[in-house]
Amino acid sequence: MRALLNLLVKELLQLKRDPKIVPILFVAPVFQLFILGYAATTDIKRVELAVCDLDRTAASRQLVEAFTASTYFRVVRTVDAQGELDPLLLAGAARLAVTIPAGFAADRNAGRPSTIQLLADGSDATVGTVGLAYAANVVQQVNAAAGVRPQVEIRPVVLYNPDLKSRNFMVPGILAMIIMIMTMMLTSMALVRESEVGTLEQLLVTPLTPGQLIVGKLVPYALVALVEILTAMPIVLFWFRVPMRGSYLTLFLLTLPFVACTLGLGLLVSTLSRTQQQAMMLSAFVFMLPQIYLSGFIFPIQNMPQAFQLATYLVPLRYYVVILRGVFLKGVGFAELWPQAVALLVLATVILTAARLRFRRRLG
């Protein structure tokens, strides 16, 4: 037990000794959370709109104003001929272009339907789809104001996140990704570096068992992760104002198995690599990328082909994403999240056992 404590102290001291480590460990995550928390937004606003008004009447100008009055669009150019729209879309100066035909006002006054053309830049499918939907909304409002409305309307009721602010989910998710990357990064080099530098032999002649060595290597980084989470949480809650409807204790308890998984994965990488460069590539490509892409955080799992959906069951972040959404936004606890908790515990056990077995094999 004493030997283990000494190992922990040694690891922490080593961390402290490298002056460049401290900003990386504690400043970088917070900094990234700030910037990326703002970047990861799917709330499309200020879509660049070009207008080609071939009618030039009060009615057509009213229509254009309806577009600009909504915060969704920003008119970047008004052109006189439809041909002038092409270069704007090509250059990306405008994402959507609306053409109002000549005779628009006349048709409307006579009670006849009038068709406007919406040209969308599809190369950005997200903005294109959303832009068209916004435009359809604007037109529907214009029609409603003139007494033309559909007979059946939808009344949406949004649970958990009434303003549909993507930030409320994205920010905790980004924090989880940052923690995942940091913990895996730290532990994946842990053993490889010692073996490359030659100090691993020295560790082996100590009375520490492989199990104790693993614990000794992981616990300091678990503490680092804990400090990172504690410093980042106030930003999530008070700066980004993400609602926290569940219990902090539940969140903390459910975070532990997740961190155990990522630390364990890093350690496993360390036992599988012979050089630090290999450790870097293995951890980045084989263990981090799947967590970013297959966790359901940004890209919904239900959209993936069956084979991938099955593969996501092996991704720890997949379960943690559900936990984050559940605790922050839905206010649920163990009663609903126990499947995720069990999955994370199982994964953590498997990973740490594998790491330990690999470690013993490397020694023997």
Binding site: D18, V152, E153, M185, N303, K330
Partner: protein, 367 residues
């Protein structure tokens, strides 16, 4: 000068050849990753778990329900005459959306009055929820007759036309971004350890004794990786075209030029980090942190830069993938020529030059 640079390039190439694992990884990894994630990533939502609560039960109500189920987007996972069916189903995520049809739906419709249906959504994943709501609105609009009772003017109809990606497939939009992301991360990882490894091993001293200039050392070290990365990039772009329906409407030559500029920037970034770090561990951390999440989230790969707050938009200017994506999407999807994307090419060139200068200054100081 060129001879010395080439000498270093050959040395680095030989070293690369000796570490077959690394070189094969750098060569093949981008294509492998594209293959895997190109199929996985999509924003086109299907199999939406829908519950239908029908208080009415009449013909009109059944029509609405049928419209939803026949759209191909929704899977019926629960149904009933009472909201209690939904209890807890949203909390566990078993249901994503619920259509609730009021008891007087049929009669209201028959009387020519406006009727409402309720659509309950799990808003936790805002992007999915917004998309689902969009589908629902479209479906309801398609089954709803239009009232023109007290109309004061004719209706405005919309004719939408989508260019460059007519079916708005998210894959055509995502795959180029995925290519950019993979190439950036691979480039940085490849070179981030290049210089610092020499420092750690002590071979930097021997290089110091040669008449080598810092600039020659850095360029020489980067060249072999540029070669490997170019082959990788070509393979990835080919896969994007062959497997993921990404057209190549513009010129291949310009595509090559822009890709080379981008790779140069990414590799250069890795080399710069290599000169800033003293240990491989720190180089790894700096490289990973500065390439992975920023390229994922700040390059316009997934989240539109124009929707970000102004200060964050400013920061995106130092993410080289941002420029590459504009040029790449422009060339392959829009067939745009250099007169359209020359600002981006210039930015990539400037980025590479600044990075190289910074790395040179750092190396001169340490040499």
């Amino acid at each position: 000068m060129i001879r010395r640079t080439l000498a270093i390039a050959v040395k680095e190439l030989l070293q690369l050849r000796r570490d077959l694992r690394t070189s094969l990884t750098l060569l093949g990894m981008p294509m492998l990753l594209l293959l895997i994630y190109g199929y996985a990533l999509s924003f086109d939502i299907v199999h939406i778990r829908l519950a239908v609560i029908d208080h009415d039960g009449g013909r009109a109500a059944r029509d609405v329900r049928a419209a939803f189920l026949e759209s191909g987007y929704f899977d019926l996972v629960a149904h009933g005459r009472d909201e209690r069916v939904l209890d807890g189903l949203f909390d566990t995520g078993d249901v994503q959306a619920a259509l609730v049809i009021p008891a007087d739906y049929g009669t209201t419709l028959a009387a020519g009055r406006e009727a409402q249906v309720q659509f309950v959504l799990d808003g936790a994943d805002a992007q999915t929820a917004t998309t689902i709501l969009g589908y629902a609105r479209q479906i309801v609009a398609s089954v709803s007759p239009v009232l023109r009772g007290a109309a004061t003017s004719g209706p405005v109809l919309v004719r939408p036309l989508v260019w460059y990606n007519p079916d708005l497939s998210s894959s055509r939009f995502l795959v180029p971004g995925l290519v950019a992301f993979i190439l950036m991360v691979t480039s940085v990882i490849a070179t981030a350890l290049a210089v610092v490894r020499e420092k750690e091993r002590g071979t930097m001293e021997s290089l110091r004794a040669t008449p080598l200039l810092a600039l020659e050392l850095l360029v020489g070290k980067t060249l072999p990786y540029l070669l490997v990365a170019s082959v990788s990039a070509a393979g990835s772009l080919f896969l994007a075209w062959a497997l993921f329906d990404v057209p190549v409407r513009g010129s291949l030559g310009w595509l090559a030029v822009v890709t080379l500029l981008f790779l140069g920037g990414g590799l250069g970034w890795g080399v710069l980090i290599s000169t800033l770090a003293d240990t491989q561990q720190v180089a790894f951390q700096m490289g990973l942190l500065s390439s992975m999440l920023p390229t994922l989230l700040l390059s316009g790969f997934i989240f539109p830069i124009s929707s970000m707050p102004a200060p964050v938009q400013v920061i995106t200017h130092i993410v080289p993938a941002r420029y590459f994506l504009v040029a790449l999407r422009g060339i392959v999807l829009k067939g745009a020529g250099p007169e359209v994307w020359w600002p981006q090419a210039l930015a990539l060139l400037a980025f590479g030059a600044v990075i190289l200068a910074a790395a040179t200054v750092r190396t001169v100081r340490s040499l």
